[in-house]
Symmetry: D4
Subunit: 226 residues, 8 copies
């Protein structure tokens, strides 16, 4: 194994993920102190490695910006991107569909991540199944996408319904939207896993980031036979 | 309280439920010995009270029939009805919809119970959402019903989708069909409770009987303003 | 499908639910920003469509009122109703029963919703089963109702007891009142689903709104045979 | 500590529990081989110590009887009592109430244990709350008891209702009767623990034995002030 | 049923519990507004009925005191007692044992309630099983009690160990003390229910109050044979 | 919607899934009677539509074969394929990796399904992480695949470890292999969803079939840019 | 990594674990077919590598013995050992303590495994805490051990009590002995993890094998400073 | 039993744990008032007994320091040590490994505790399995340790991977790092318990302290054969 990593005491930075996986480096900002995040971003800046971070609080962003790190920040998705020049364009296209408005922050995490990784993304928001015509009126457009990310909270039925209507792979993202029996997202998670539709696989609750990376890995396959 | 009951040692039979609730007496056969079931049915026979039992095993039925009780038995729904002359006709109509073929025993428990109570029932089987056109091609007929019972296992999304397409009250029945993350019916149960659609209320897992009684109580209201 | 919807970017408003289901449009305010809620309410105002919202925080209400939206707000039920002229009167009557005083906010959500939808509602509060005479002294009045909503937290036994004493359909609402083994409402939810009483169906924890809509769908059936 | 025990290899028999706690020795037969059970019973027989065993299978009983142990067996409660001459009479009286007929085996475990320990027991079976008049018609008799054991499966509401109607301590026993949302007895267990009624404490699911011992410890207190 | 209750709109006060159960009236203060609590306490004051409330916040207490209600308040147990003259003395004695110091608020809820109900209480605090000699050095004193309340969080083993060492009934109270696998008290709850010791029954997590009432019901039995 | 379906009473067969999704029709055999399965297979045979079924018991297979249906059966994966001539070849290649030998039936379900759908599959069995060199010695071969299905029971760590070592999308399949804390597959399911590795999405417990369909949908994308 | 493994199709055998970890190779027999087990054992026999297998059914053993494999079998622990000449003697001593007789099969799995690995083991069976004198009368002998394995089902309190009485490390094994609230061993598992005693770590439910290996790894450390 | 304890009202201090277990006294500060903590520390100071406390808030520390107690405090691990002169040196060495940076507070709790108890500790931070080369590049150093503590949140796979690569005993610590399906640490807890690797035992979620004490008990064994 010739992979490089940098030991900065509290962390060992993976400096070769880009060459190993073909995608930029990413950081999970939650649970890191502001000082730790700063040190990490400065290290990548020095190495000229593009990097983005999820679950970044406004306080964390302000701290690293004030310390001179050059980074962009989107308060809805809570994504910080320390090297805004995006990744080379990926082939194909990605659709991101949500059940309701409250799923928007997680959806934007998916959209921004995929765009940072180089994907072309179209948003289809608030097409939940309680009013099926909202979905059906847009389904032809959704069918144009090569990969689909579908997010839903509460009962989480949207990804299964979409998967039955398209032939593209669907990445399902349960969200913690809802209350009571939706169990902070466990219910839509279980729903999506139990779906009797084909062509659906699932990521963690509220994990828009993970869905986007998976979608980009899939899109990247299309390069192969170009 | 002027309600009558009969003490037969291991049980106190409710002999006035018919007059109190307007519906026939019912028995939960599981957990009762064959001898206990026989004693109960004979008592009702003697009192000339119509009665049906759910969760009746073929062995239980054979035992009571051999002992001379006059009763009908449906092996799919596992319903025994000791007085097959049905209840007076209820107004309105009931639709019973299932997501898949494996939900059939629970669906038949609902259908047979509702028919025993006097309802007019139409079956809409295997209209699950994995192939949405199966549901959409029948939705106009389903909309004719005054009350809808919708059953589904696995991810349990059918009742919520139907509730968003109709204006009738939907009684949702989660079934234990599925495996793994469907958790013996807990997942469709939680799904149905978390549905963002309006006009849906839920009964216990595999409780086709309970859904039918609730549907009949609702249909009976329509008598009032005749 | 000829249903109309309005795309406002983060949401697709359902503009034809009224004509499709016979009831006013409703909004789930939690998880929406103040600005999003404002945009939605203004859109409905412009379309002259009556609308109510649940889970509306005082801050959300203040924001939309200050922005000129004409709406009423009830801080107990947290319901905002942007078009206070109520729906046409529904036939029949609805009883709303609670186990204890702490269930009051959820009960009021049910009451206010049903009244907005046009139902005639009577309150029966604090008739929980720990002191059964409180329920028994009122049961004759409760029996007059065509539909009953019964709410309870803690052990959640009230709806089952009522369902055994009446012939009307009972919509059960578990509440998150309690601590420890009541598991934020999961225990009364499971209790109500497991009830051996007949004529009971259940909605999500604290979902007074959903119970009310279901009750109104049922009451609306009584119009049919007028 | 001067307590005596006998080491028989796979087990250490407690030979002084009788003098320490005032009650006969008891054995949990499940998980023991027939040979182990025989050895234990023979040891107690040799020590002339009265002993009873719960969860004893018919096969276990047959084996030890064939091996010459003198013991009685009740197939409903699955209790073996190797020394049928009962314990000295306890003061006061015990009521054992069940919600339904299917609770009978657990109820009989409680009754037989309490009788073996010397208590006077009255049975009140099938007084569940789905038909409240069955309970109310017997409540005056139940109030005569000094201690009450109340068993219920499904939603498990009976003990709480009784506790609100009497002043005696109520020992609640959830049973595994039911299906789906009753979760093999977990739901009635949680219900009983969450009861807003006073004067109720709970034992394990299907633990009629434990309830009886607790009841007998309580009854024994009445001896003190004689 | 000749029980009296007072309808004050949001609640129906049980005015005859004292004569029915032999104990003072009690209130669960959580989930009630300050105004509701005041109204209730004033009503009982006017009826000259002794009353105590649990889960009373300092803010609630201050409000009702400022409004002129004469009541005592203990900030550790959070008990308000609006009529401090205690109930007539109960026979026998009660021991309250805790596993650790952090169980103290729940233990004091039990102690204060039992004292308000007239019981003589001895505290045995911090006798948890991690250092068994702390328990064994006090066990002879604990054995003098007629009823024992044992509280423990974390693994919750204390009540079972005590029950094996005494002949009095043990009321077990799981507390929410602990973290991680103790699951906010669910683990000690399950532990206590699963105890293989005899003579133990369990109340809800952190329910010192319920344990005390059950203990007092038991102690009251000793009056009978005086 | 121009989709065709055939109503055969207990089921509505989807006759246009092939043209809609580009893949053969599939059946979930569990929960269907032998007669129902036969009717379905005969219908597809008559329509000359290729079909395969999962969870097919040996008894079901024997019954339909004896009735004259021409179908192949693999007892390890329990897959019946009624039209063994496979689908047109898909581009790219699929690796199927298992943690241990006991995962083999689920792995074979994935392999057989993917092969039926036209994929080229390589097996990498028993490369679990308890002996990491088993995985590391094969990782270069695994990296050749365009899509990877990774199965594991017990702690379920394999897919996450692989996802960190490759750039292809990984479809993770938790299996019910294990005991105790692996909770019939729930633990590996949660593990895979919580993985901090990127490029992993998850299907239901033991759902080798679903993983294969998702993998084939992904592989099919590679056709696009040929 | 110079580790050797043998690819036998359905499995990759780890042939260097002995030299890597200092302990014999072990097999988890459950989920393997008889033929697979035979192939594995024959491979190790050919390599002259000592091996033992857990969860071996009598049928599996009979099959491999009939096929000529030379192996011993213990039906209580269900351990097969294909090379009965034990491992070199480990330093120190191990105590294996059980709460009750029903824990014996798991305890024997621990004892037999540790003995196969070369440890000196003493059994302390049935010293559960319901009768504390049974434990206290043996505690001085238990204190002589360098490592202690403590097993318990039901409430699982034994390991914590022992850990508070000794200075040796305690490996806790929850067993699935019990019913109802013991949740097939989950309750003792959670109890042991939540123990407030120090010096305790936990393995999976019924995992006597894992506890023994961990104990032997610890004992092996004592060799170092000889 | 000649163990000494001091009764200070709300607690019984164990004054002989040092001589009984060979390690310093420790306190769980959470759930204790500032005044209680002060009293305890002053008592130990007066008895000249070394003591450390976990879960100590900055406010608690400030209070006891201002009251004149001489104690050190580490804000990352939240450990207070009232007698900083450490315990006599333990033989051998301990490695503490973390999956990610967010595990640092729990890791430091383990490190600081072990150092206070006299162990030599080496930190291996951020060697999680998502980038396996980070672990593999350090594994030779980790192999030098006599005991290993491995911490991980999210999917919790690190300890199992390490246990398969070393021959030392591994103490696994699940952390509450993660979101959604990691269930506040329950998922890594279950993962570690289900690990198919050998030589791993587990402590409570976030219990760095417990892991350190167990590690020190093990290291202390190495003294024996010096």
């Amino acid at each position: 194994m010739q992979d490089r990593s940098a030991d900065i005491g509290f962390a060992r930075l993976d400096l070769s993920r880009g060459s190993r996986t073909g995608f930029p480096e990413t950081i999970y900002c939650a649970g890191k102190t502001k000082e730790q995040l700063l040190t990490i971003l400065q290290k990548f800046e020095a190495e000229k490695i593009a990097v983005m971070g999820t679950h970044c609080s406004p306080e964390q962003f302000e701290f690293v910006r004030n310390a001179g790190v050059s980074a962009a920040y989107d308060p809805v998705s809570r994504i910080i991107s320390a090297s805004p020049e995006a990744h080379p364009r990926l082939p194909g296209s990605l659709a991101v569909c949500t059940g309701g408005t409250a799923d928007l922050p997680v959806a934007e995490e998916a959209v921004r991540t995929a765009e940072f990784f180089g994907a072309e993304v179209t948003r289809f928001y608030d097409v939940g199944i309680a009013g099926l015509h909202r979905l059906l009126s847009r389904i032809e457009d959704i069918r144009q996408a090569d990969v689909i990310i579908a997010l839903a909270g509460m009962e989480g039925a949207l990804p299964g319904v979409i998967a039955g209507l398209v032939s593209a792979p669907v990445i399902a993202v349960p969200t913690s939207v809802g209350y009571g029996a939706s169990l902070q997202g466990l219910t839509p998670l279980l729903t999506m896993l139990s779906s009797c539709a084909e062509g659906i696989s699932v990521v963690n609750i509220d994990n828009g980031f993970g869905a986007a990376v998976q979608a980009c890995r899939i899109l990247k396959l299309m390069e192969k036979n170009k």
